[in-house]
Amino acid sequence: MIEGLSEAQTAGLEVIAAIAERPVDELERRHEMVADLGIDSPKALRLLLDLEDRLDIEISDEAAARMDTVGDVLDQLAGVG
């Protein structure tokens, strides 16, 4: 269970869990999106779409390319909201 998250980070974690089809409380910062969670290209596209829609943000290609782990995604969302 990852603690100390902002509202946006919590929402982001829920989006990751939904796309990866995993319970939220099973996710850890160190989990790699592809190797551990099976987030392939179609799922990555859905993940980014859902993050943008739910949080009303735009994610640049550069930021998306840095989202290798759950922790990376949460870090990107640290300043949102």
């Binding site: 392939d40 179609p42 596209l45 779409l49 943008e52 994610i59 640049s60 290609d61």
Partner: protein, 223 residues
């Protein structure tokens, strides 16, 4: 506000080049003797049968733009087009804007890229059929990247493969050796059966779909 005269002049020149290119493509296309094989699939689109991903090799861009403009856009089928951020992409964007088509700018070569997200929304939310070149923007020629497949998977829209042949054509010296049919040549368009891509296809299964798409896009290329 500061105005950069050089940049402004460049924009004007690209705008003029875009209008000239539009006129040339339409004028040239009007002389071709066109035969469409599989027109019933275009008819599905004209009857509002839902968006499809219109795909062809980059070398056929001139033929395809002319044909799709006349056969789909002018008959009310809402289209969009992915154009690169390069200077060539800007010229193409100006051309299609002059035709009343709003382009999406960017690259779809990276999974989940901003351009792919914009295309997804254009298809899924607005019902637009995007014009895509799976070997673009810079090749290698006739090698499909996975962006179009991913888009088909996430939107549920099938890929409509388009192949072209011309009895007589110029070949440019560009990476794709772009074909431009000469005036009054016979141009054949082969519209393939719409190709859905299973949402759960990954790994070898997705590679198999990619190779299948390549074979469909190669159909009738040689004439």
């Amino acid at each position: 506000m500061r105005i950069d005269p050089g940049r402004r002049l460049g924009g004007i020149l690209i705008g003029l080049a875009g209008r000239l290119a539009r006129w040339l493509v339409l004028a040239l296309g009007a002389t071709w003797r066109l035969r469409v094989v599989g027109d019933e699939h275009l008819e599905d689109l004209r009857r509002g049968g839902g968006p499809m991903l219109l795909a062809f090799w980059h070398e056929h861009a001139v033929i395809a733009c002319s044909v799709l403009y006349r056969r789909l856009h002018r008959r009310g089928v809402p289209l969009t087009l992915l154009t690169s951020q390069s200077r060539d992409g800007e010229l193409l964007a100006r051309v299609v804007r002059a035709w009343g088509i709003d382009p999406v700018r960017g690259s779809s070569t990276r999974g989940g890229s901003a351009a792919l997200r914009a295309l997804h929304r254009a298809v899924a939310r607005h019902g637009l059929s995007p014009i895509l070149v799976p070997d673009g923007p810079v090749g290698p020629p006739h090698v499909a990247k996975t962006g179009v497949l991913v888009l088909a998977q996430t939107t549920g829209a099938p890929i409509l493969p388009l192949a072209f042949a011309a009895s007589s054509a110029w070949r440019l010296g560009s990476w794709d050796r772009m074909r431009i049919p000469k005036p009054f040549s016979r141009v054949t368009v082969v519209v393939g059966r719409p190709m859905p891509v299973p949402a759960d296809a990954t790994g070898d299964a997705l590679e198999s779909e990619r190779l299948h798409l390549e074979s469909l896009l190669d159909a009738s290329t040689e004439s």
